[in-house]
Symmetry: C2
Subunit: 594 residues, 2 copies
């Protein structure tokens, strides 16, 4: 056994014990000829001491040790000198006086500091990820990730869910946008694709009668460079037979309660708030509301359309919408600060944003004159504004108004310090529209995916007015981030065929895309439901970061490259020939340019 | 809630309880107008009864139910009529008299029977895998797989191992034989590859100080068609810092003990037998001996070379080897049966095999005359043969002799019923040679992989005689199947460079292949060790099968196709253009031929 203990566990209980520790030289100090080294491993730091009066030879060896050398030190545990204890450290009361030293491997001077107080630039961190990962604050995130996975697995296993692996090499979807494809060597000219999600296969598992399934699948998608997503991410994928929405919601609540309790020791408030999609759009302007603060949007179209402000009158006439948001104590905002918000609103897509301060019971603004005192008072009342507050108004299409004001709301929440960063506020959004109108192609598209069951009462509108058909669709939202999307699946072949007609999908196209699943449902498809949770996102939020790369061991850069191993790379002609492909002219030119 | 209970749990405890069950119609019998249906789900079968005198309408509906229809049945639990209880069934004492019936989905006549007693052909099973998977004996294997994974995870988590995911899209290895490559859309002309194992990345995790790691990674390899391997398989990948071989072996023993105890309720014998590679080759002719039976091979070269049998004399002269195996009661073998073994030996590569029966203290055979009585008696003694036994002898190169006799031994074990099929006999093979001579290219190749540490005492031979250098390499073997291969890794940059010289790998080549790992070790590489266990193989053996496809939900066929979803497939020209590749002429011709 090379070590008797880790560097994170010795205390006064082990005084005089002979121990052997292994780890990295974290820091080294020389005090009057005695060398003190903080030895580091994943579990902590232990001070080890090289005293020439204790062992001359070992002290001499220690004199050559440098940061990040990997060593084994044997010696006895003793109390630190009075006044030298470090109460911040688990091992802060003791030190090990070293009698034997073995240097496993020396380190060159590391290009980045293994010190949380001295973070390096993003690219350097990623190139030397193995050094970056040595930082305790970085390692801690992977401990949280690990624990979260294990808690989820134990929770689901205890409830009869089976973890079943679905394939990585699957059928390419015709027009499978952003699918990674993989040429086959043994079948020249044919390809597999990598899964963007195990959706079809988990549905097959339900048809196969596995009843309750989960998996932490890797999902791959050839994302655009501008995206801040990763080409591969991990889901927590769950599906269960004979479940209704409330069964899924209760499962979700219990799962999250256990995860947050056992991993972070945080007690969540349950049940999570349920809110329909329509209500969320009305009150927050989006379908993933951050409920850690208020500032609800108010529809004021009917109020302002009576005024003289032309923009709003036009909006009302064109089926647009005018919505307002309260800015508490916004009356104090400087003109410059107001302008920042107006610019931000424009960058979000709105033509502009109107601001008005509440002063002496009426509104003050460059456009206040267009609104009668009655309208002003109604606005103040509707928005619940008080003396010294401000209101922002945006009038545009429903989409642009909501899109703009929901983002203005989020920014206000942050800048006015309305957000408790330690709060985890979950909600469940329900009843999404099943279809959305694609005005480019003048057709209906499925809003989620084609295997979602419509609300039973809405079936009658399916052919007449698809916009009135809502799906048994639900999202889990945490602090304004969508964590999962799920639905009651449609297992009924007849309804499936009606839905395909609505979106204009021919039987041939359906067969090409997911024929094997449609066929499977012909042999007794169970009612089933589930979700696919963005696991990296959950862990990132638990770690207090928004960047999922912080919780992925070897993430790709924003341009889908791994700076450590250098992928993707040019491969030999010989290897291309092995899998029966060639670069096309565009690829050849691109490579030559570089 | 659609169901109050599963189909596998009701008993007399629930008499009179109103229940709701959901599941598949497994079978249907009509007895004097009363319809009995076995309703099936993953948990079992429950008899449900439709009696027209109880509910006429529901009985009428039930009359239309057919096999594999999916229904919900509500009713009360009651005792079965006297004498009708089924003691083989958990729910065999009760039945549910149905008052309400809902048909979720009807089933067409299934193309295969959901009945373990009526298995369908391989191809049909795979095409309709969702029906094949409904069979209880098939589902049971996935319960075992699930439990094995969870037990392993709990065991490793409790010992501070962290589950960390390594990337699926990695750096292509130059000349990476059998690597799947993946063209990048956003980097025209460049490729990722899919991992054959996470080896390099888990070593990086050790350099990063994670101390103890595990993962159940998917490993992908573009196998040849003739292979019976799968293009993707799952490993249990484990690595730990500051470990010596015995630490790994003890961990392995405890892990396997827990798995077999908790999943199969089988108590394993520990410690597992340790045996060196050299000893295993000597006694069993291979490095994965099936120790459930004896029949050890004996080297008899020195005995037979004194005889007149030319073949063996030549073998001895040419540094070959003659080995023998005892065939208990083989004297009873018919001439025809003996011939089957002789043919088998030839099919294993040997020029021939010699047989001799023990009769009256000497040997009887067509070649016995070439051996003096003294030699015959020596052979009998060395092989421990008794009256009525037989011995087989093979003389050839060391490789062919061992290869042939180890397979003859396995066949004898099976055909003589020497194997207890319920036994799980583990052993650990140690001290493999580090290099093997590649006579085609006249150079030394690494026998395992280049990051294996040599035995410390053997370093002195590294340049002088690589054949004398053994590695700190070990395999775990179960019943003659290699389950894992592992090693103490070489973290020392200087030794690494010496080893590369031995195998003739230039610094440039090393840098191309795994430059980032070599660089990582420059910054303080810890001593570490681990293994990658073939998880599908373990589960298959636990389920009593040798075919890993039985424990993979959606396996590929022997020609790497998925008969259910149809992959691999031809993809559109448009999609190829998206990722900047074209088919080469060979691929185009291959497709046109079909």
């Amino acid at each position: 056994m090379l070590r008797t203990n880790t560097c994170g566990e010795l205390s006064k209980k082990e005084l005089k014990k002979k121990v052997s520790l292994c780890g990295w030289v974290h820091s080294r100090r020389d005090h009057g000829g005695v060398i003190f080294i903080d030895l580091r491993d994943r579990y902590g730091l232990t001070q080890i001491v090289f005293d020439p009066s204790h062992n001359k030879e070992v002290h001499k060896m220690a004199d050559k040790l440098r940061r990040e050398d990997v060593i084994q030190a044997k010696g006895a545990v003793r109390s630190r000198t009075k006044g030298m204890a470090n109460p911040k450290l688990k091992t802060g009361e003791i030190e090990v006086i070293v009698s034997e030293l073995k240097v496993f491997n020396k380190s060159e001077v590391p290009p980045i500091e293994i010190d949380d107080r001295k973070p390096s630039g993003e690219d350097t961190r990623m190139k030397y990820r193995y050094l970056d990962l040595r930082r305790p604050s970085v390692q801690e995130k992977f401990v949280i990730r690990h624990k979260t996975m294990q808690v989820a697995r134990e929770f689901l296993s205890a409830r009869d869910f089976l973890e079943i692996e679905t394939p990585m090499l699957i059928k390419p979807t015709p027009e499978g946008a952003r699918d990674y494809i993989v040429p086959s060597r043994v079948h020249p000219g044919k390809f597999y694709s990598l899964p963007q999600s195990p959706q079809l296969y988990k549905q097959i598992l339900m048809v196969a009668g596995f009843d309750r399934y989960f998996q932490f699948p890797r999902c791959l998608r050839d994302e655009d460079l501008r995206s801040d997503r990763q080409p591969e991410h991990t889901q927590l994928d769950v599906e269960m037979c004979f479940a209704e929405q409330e069964d899924i919601f209760e499962l979700t609540e219990e799962l999250m309660e256990q995860i947050f309790k056992k991993v972070l020791n945080v007690k969540l408030k349950t049940p999570f708030l349920r809110m329909t999609y329509d209500e969320s759009m009305l009150r927050y302007g989006n379908d993933k509301p951050d409920l850690r603060f208020g500032l609800e949007l108010k529809d004021v179209t009917s109020i302002v359309k009576g005024g003289e402000f032309k923009v709003f009158k036009e909006v009302a006439k064109n089926k647009g919408i005018v919505k307002g948001i309260l800015v508490p104590r916004g009356g104090e905002f400087s003109r410059k600060k107001i302008d920042t918000y107006l610019d931000y609103a424009r960058s979000c897509g709105a033509g502009g944003m109107v601001w008005m301060k509440v002063s002496k019971g009426v509104l003050e603004s460059n456009v206040a004159k267009f609104f009668s005192e009655k309208i002003q008072k109604e606005l103040i009342k509707t928005l619940g504004a008080k003396e010294g507050d401000m209101i922002f108004l945006v009038g545009d299409s429903v989409k642009v108004t909501n899109g703009t004001l929901s983002r203005v709301r989020q920014r206000l929440g942050q800048e006015l310090n309305l957000i408790n960063e330690k709060e985890f506020n979950f909600c469940i959004i329900t009843d999404f529209p099943l279809f959305e109108w694609n005005s480019d192609e003048e057709k209906w598209d499925p809003m989620h995916h084609i295997f979602t069951a419509p609300r039973e009462g809405d079936l009658k509108y399916l052919e007449k007015d698809p916009s009135k058909v809502y799906g048994q669709l639900y999202d889990l939202v945490l602090n304004g981030t969508e964590l999962y999307s799920g639905s009651i699946r449609n297992s009924n072949v007849e309804i499936q065929e009606r839905m395909m007609k609505v979106i204009g999908m021919s039987k041939e196209e359906a067969k090409d895309k997911f024929g094997f699943l449609l066929e499977a449902y012909r042999y007794g498809g169970p009612v089933h439901a589930g979700f696919g949770l963005g696991f990296d996102r959950l862990v990132a939020l638990m770690c207090g970061t928004e960047d999922i790369r912080e919780v992925i061991a070897f993430p790709k850069s924003k341009s889908a490259e791994n700076l450590m191993d250098g992928c993707p790379l040019v491969v030999d002609q010989k290897e291309l020939k092995e899998v029966h492909i060639e670069l096309n002219d565009f690829a050849k030119k691109s490579l030559n340019k570089k």
